[in-house]
């Protein structure tokens, strides 16, 4: 009933009609429409990390027998806003020995892809910014650019330890990207398309009555694929138990130590945007995106999608406050000798299943 998708598209149609009626060429109306949509997306993606930071502090507080931020606004909800404002006004320090241009560019290169990646994500019925036919590969390709931002940050801050942190971070992101991409392949094999909207739509319906036809409920392939994707995504976003690059007690300096003020906020924004992106992808690929239990029921599809995404985000937060940190070589060994073989085996199972099914 509260489906936002159709309502919004009707609104945009009337808007462009009204604008064309006032003598603006069709191209102009199309540009206005698109710029509003892009503006809304960018605003949403920059607000989501604020919510996630607040959620992380609250969740970690309750796990550690304390209350978390309480006094900036009721239950501390404006705490992250206050942090953001504080970071903006902090002094912007550029170390002397560092390469100025790279130092300034690094946070932008690390943060911009996070926004672009949200283009093909299906927030609900009809709420897809752009229904790209190559949605999945597009997200992995664009999120690869952040690794270059990490390396620029490591090299741009001029000191030995952050360079070491930068190399470790990039090595980790690159090596965990492979199992992450391979773990999504079974989903593509089953549903034949790469557009996230198409995959989400294909997962509607029920299996003999009660079980929703989500990919995670496929007997063996679904669970393995989801687990590998989840683990690899945690490693991609450099979060515990894979947060070697910012390991305080070892290197004392991660790759973003020399960054202060707004630049550090951008790195922070990128990390949480990628956590949200990975959860949104997991929700769309494995939990049937906007499809609700009682399809077409009261709860609109975009609310279902956000609910599933935040459930998976809670997993990310939960990992952070209960797991210790893996050692670097064990981390690499885990990726190459455990995750990769299993994702390849999973593709083989999926191939077999597709063969038997058709």
């Amino acid at each position: 009933m509260f489906e936002l998708g159709p309502i919004l598209s009707k609104a945009f149609a009337t808007l462009s009609g009204w604008v064309i009626a006032h003598g603006v060429p069709a191209m102009g109306a199309w540009i206005i429409n698109k710029s509003i949509q892009v503006g809304a997306l960018v605003l949403g993606v920059s607000l989501v990390p604020m919510v996630l930071v607040y959620a992380e502090r609250k969740v970690s507080a309750f796990m550690q027998a304390r209350l978390g931020p309480m006094n900036v606004g009721p239950y501390g909800i404006f705490q992250t806003l206050a942090d953001g404002v504080k970071l903006i006004f902090k002094e912007d320090v550029i170390p002397i020995g560092s390469d100025r241009i790279l130092h300034v560019l690094a946070p932008m290169v690390a943060c911009a892809p996070a926004f672009v990646c949200f283009a093909p994500v299906p927030f609900g019925k009809g709420l897809v910014p752009i229904n790209l036919d190559i949605g999945v590969i597009f997200i992995f390709a664009v999120s690869g650019i952040t690794t270059i931002g990490v390396l620029m940050a490591g090299w741009g801050s001029g000191n030995k330890f952050s360079m070491l942190g930068g190399i470790r971070g990039a090595a980790q992101i690159v090596s965990y990207e492979i199992p992450r991409v391979l773990s999504v392949v079974p989903v593509l094999m089953f549903y034949g398309t790469q557009s996230l909207q198409g995959i989400a739509m294909a997962q509607t319906g029920r299996w003999h009555g009660f079980l929703p036809k989500w990919f995670i409920f496929y007997p063996v392939i679904g669970q393995i694929a989801f687990l590998i994707f989840l683990i690899a995504s945690v490693a991609e976003t450099n979060r515990v138990p894979f947060d070697i690059p910012e390991a305080e007690s070892e290197l004392v300096a991660g790759f973003h130590t020399e960054f202060s003020g707004l630049k550090f906020a951008l790195f922070f924004l990128a990390e949480y945007a990628y956590v949200f992106l990975s959860s949104a992808m997991a929700a769309a690929l494995f939990f049937g995106g906007g499809d609700g239990f009682s399809a077409g029921g009261i709860i609109p599809s975009w609310l279902w999608f956000l609910g599933k995404t935040f459930a998976i985000v809670f997993l990310f937060l939960w990992f952070r406050w209960t797991f210790p940190r893996l050692r670097v070589d064990r981390l690499m060994q885990f990726c190459w000798q455990f995750l990769l073989p299993w994702s390849l085996a999973n593709i083989a199972f999926a191939g077999l299943a597709v063969l038997l099914r058709s």
């Binding site: 199309w30 790209l132 036919d133 590969i137 664009v142 690869g144 650019i145 190399i167 990039a170």
Partner: protein
Amino acid sequence: MIEQWAPIVIFGAMSALLIGLSLVVVTARSVFRGAIALAAALGVAAGLFALLGADFVAAGQLLIYVGGIMIIMLFVIMLSQRPLAKLDRQANDQWLWAALFSLAVTCGLIVQFRAVYRGVFFNPEAAPTSASIGRLLLGDMIVPFEAVSLVLLAALVGAVYFGLGKEES
């Protein structure tokens, strides 16, 4: 619905950016900056592929070139940079001859291309290509597809062999 002048404007902007970035790659004082410019150039090239309707290849280029090769190249640059190497000049002494030679090659090519392929026009409707590329790779191009996997294997073994170096192996 998109007017006729839109593609030419986008193409003009992208090609200017591409040429600018590649000049930076070739003349940058610090190799690291050159590498970052190359990564940006490859990104713009991916944009050009998308403009020409090759969406799968554009994503592939970003994934493999920018996400893979450039990262390894940056690793090697960081590992092999001596602390005070920032100051040495990057161009060797026969750069003038190189400039003349490459100018000659470019002008020859441009003259050649202008004469022959003048009149073919651009059609913007882009159909999704990943399905047809998949069929192509596993259909007609199956032999090169398998051969390339052998080449990749050889490259992997070679890289590991050289990477290990004498002492550690």
